[in-house]
Symmetry: D2
Subunit: 267 residues, 4 copies
Amino acid sequence: MANSKYEYVKAFEQPDLLLPNTWIVVRIDGRGFHKFSNKYSFEKPNDRRALDLMNAAAKAVMTELPDIVIAYGISDEYSFVFHKSCALFERRSSKLVTTIVSTFTAYYVHLWASFFPETPLSAPLPSFDGRAVQYPSVQNLRDYMSWRQVDCHINNLYNTTFWALIQIGGLDAKSAEKELAGSLAADKNEILFSKFKINYNNEPEIYKKGSVVFRDIAQSKTQEENDRKRRAKARITVQHVDIIKDEFWERRPWLLSNKPGKIPKEP
Amino acid sequence: MANSKYEYVKAFEQPDLLLPNTWIVVRIDGRGFHKFSNKYSFEKPNDRRALDLMNAAAKAVMTELPDIVIAYGISDEYSFVFHKSCALFERRSSKLVTTIVSTFTAYYVHLWASFFPETPLSAPLPSFDGRAVQYPSVQNLRDYMSWRQVDCHINNLYNTTFWALIQIGGLDAKSAEKELAGSLAADKNEILFSKFKINYNNEPEIYKKGSVVFRDIAQSKTQEENDRKRRAKARITVQHVDIIKDEFWERRPWLLSNKPGKIPKEP
Amino acid sequence: MANSKYEYVKAFEQPDLLLPNTWIVVRIDGRGFHKFSNKYSFEKPNDRRALDLMNAAAKAVMTELPDIVIAYGISDEYSFVFHKSCALFERRSSKLVTTIVSTFTAYYVHLWASFFPETPLSAPLPSFDGRAVQYPSVQNLRDYMSWRQVDCHINNLYNTTFWALIQIGGLDAKSAEKELAGSLAADKNEILFSKFKINYNNEPEIYKKGSVVFRDIAQSKTQEENDRKRRAKARITVQHVDIIKDEFWERRPWLLSNKPGKIPKEP
Amino acid sequence: MANSKYEYVKAFEQPDLLLPNTWIVVRIDGRGFHKFSNKYSFEKPNDRRALDLMNAAAKAVMTELPDIVIAYGISDEYSFVFHKSCALFERRSSKLVTTIVSTFTAYYVHLWASFFPETPLSAPLPSFDGRAVQYPSVQNLRDYMSWRQVDCHINNLYNTTFWALIQIGGLDAKSAEKELAGSLAADKNEILFSKFKINYNNEPEIYKKGSVVFRDIAQSKTQEENDRKRRAKARITVQHVDIIKDEFWERRPWLLSNKPGKIPKEP
């Protein structure tokens, strides 16, 4: 039974190579996580265990894929950044995206019991979808990262106020929503402080800033190691810091240069 | 902190809609499963537990995604078929592929303990990559399915003989490979029978034919239910049968027509 | 001066192969032809010379590209159909589209003087843009063709009535537009007949039906010639006939089968 | 006759937007110009009239499409560059490529008689194909331009020597080819000089450097005009100069900045 008769079907596979010299961002999102978070009684507005599980899965992804230079997570989404010089899987979009989605999902499910020991998973299981986006310049990439972190801030300020109105203020969801309709950031800060004695600035950084995952390779010394090996071994750290201002990037030049100790250069 | 300044980065997301009226096949493959199967001491040439786990994950995917009409699995790969009329996720390629890959991975990891109770998973965890392929006609789709099933046969006959030479015949891998170099199907059948009294035809169907997963909706009666609901509730069956000949398809016209009881019509 | 240093830029060229086994339609449109038709005082509602020039250019395109099986033109647009089995230029989209657009433009400009001997072309010259669309089934392709021919009918009935109101009825453009706002086909027929004694059915077929260009190979005999050569030599005819009903296609089975004398088969 | 029944076919048109913030190069090539140049007895190795016609057509394209910032031509090919900020046609690839190909072809055919007054065009007419390529950085774009100019040099040195061997040296094509097989640039310079007293450096710049087409807007003054208008009115110049070294670009900062008088900034 020769297979040559059917092999023509391979010709229907179409190439999906991403453009060289562009920053590749793979963003994944939890599927139906609103429902999922209710099923497992996630704490509102933020469930620390759920965020820690997301971060643990993201660290595992970065450990298995040393080509990722930085990742950023908020709520049930995570963005993974491949350097513009990345040649992994010949830059095939499907391959890059599905590998990240699958690896992330595997660790999320596997590590669930460590973070939610009392509520075992049951069908339907958590899952994630994802897509790749290409950014030609460092400015575009940094604006993408800033976009996600500003979104984190806006959502968290809203959610913190919304749930304070419900959990402390005793409002129902509809009334809380109405109270906040059209409010500015200053208004929400004011509600939090005057009504609930909550100073938003004192909220945990992980909720206000999201989670930045990257390799801390300042201390690496042996210049003989090749970069990929070095990256694989470098300590991966999770921090909750500002990535909008220049300081974060200037103090960690290896993130954009993709070379330990090197300063990024454009164009 | 308004976000409008950064929102332009959304314009870099490029559409990836699949062509309407084409059959969509999403094929997923285990990443590095050769190494993985060694790590967990999979039985050779086939590990029944591993195949049953693949099938259980595939069934779960089909349960969560009623738009899938049929799936076919061999070894560490699985192909999922969406009907040409499928409108799920507006036919966005990334969304379709990542949802399947993620859901499959979630169940594979979650169900692992049921099939391998004595060997718990540890990092690096199993993961899968995937891609979508479009087939314009029923003939193309059936040829794709035939291609996979012929591949199953060719690989299984080779592996069965190869491992018999090693496990029963006492050869090492290199000698077994050499013995089989250039051999035809008839030669392998002959080696199996004359040397090891193995009649390949009597090997388990699951190894020879792979696994076909579909909804058995012949018995459905209530015509008022809408199709999607009906599909969701229909019993999903895993069978190890020939899908190359017409008979399989002619006896189950709802698979290609996407309507219970309806006969497919082309063009 | 070696070129190897710069050759990496070739890697930025991305493949654009169209899916196999789909009908390829390349539709081209005149750029800014409203203005263009005013500049050269095209007769309204239809300028026979302009349509004849379009048809002459389309015939030339089909002569130079024997892989085109049929073309259909109305006003300043033309659709060229490649058979689903077409392998020209490896089915590269850019190559197919630009070759048609360029060849069409070349003949349009070159033949202009034959159709408009008294009004020589001057800058800005006429030009056309184009795109390729893939249709998986014969039904989709025929619906595309029907779509264009129904459009021809709708536009021509409107334009015929609109210009009768202006040219015979003495209305200005605004009043004519107002008169026709919300009118049905029957209303326009009635206006034409009662006000201007024009029976729309007696209007020239070329205006009502558009132009269908194809090879008339019913008479071909020598079975030894290969198909491409045969196609290249076959007489190309321009007709103004109905392509919505089955009759046109059933009487010319070679158009869909892509083989002289063969009946098309699907799937 | 309503058209709604068929309008679904529009859904088969797939978007082809180019990535924002990338330099777009549209390169067009003469189709079958080897044969074409023989048919019209082009002079070898270079036909000045043919190059002047190419340049005239390129100038016309740039006049009609002010979004093009620079173009570069050699032999029967031309590359047109849109600035990375270009938003013309929403950056739709087909639209950009076909508009350039069609406009170029129109002028090539229309202007033919001015450059070849004694040899009127006849079918098959000259035509061009084209494709778009995206370059993320100024460096990539400049390397593309350098690649084409180095190619011009390599081809012209070869052709000059090859045709000298034939036209002056009396060799036939095969012998000339053999003579040059494996030769380096220095060898060809030596052959030209020692055998034919030709100093390659003294060859016309248009043959050695190709043709660079751009707007000379150093003199523009009225700052109130908007850029597009200004570009449309600026004098388009054709020069035969080095575009590999920095000097060309540094002296004309408006080419990369896309703003008269502005210096380009990256990233």
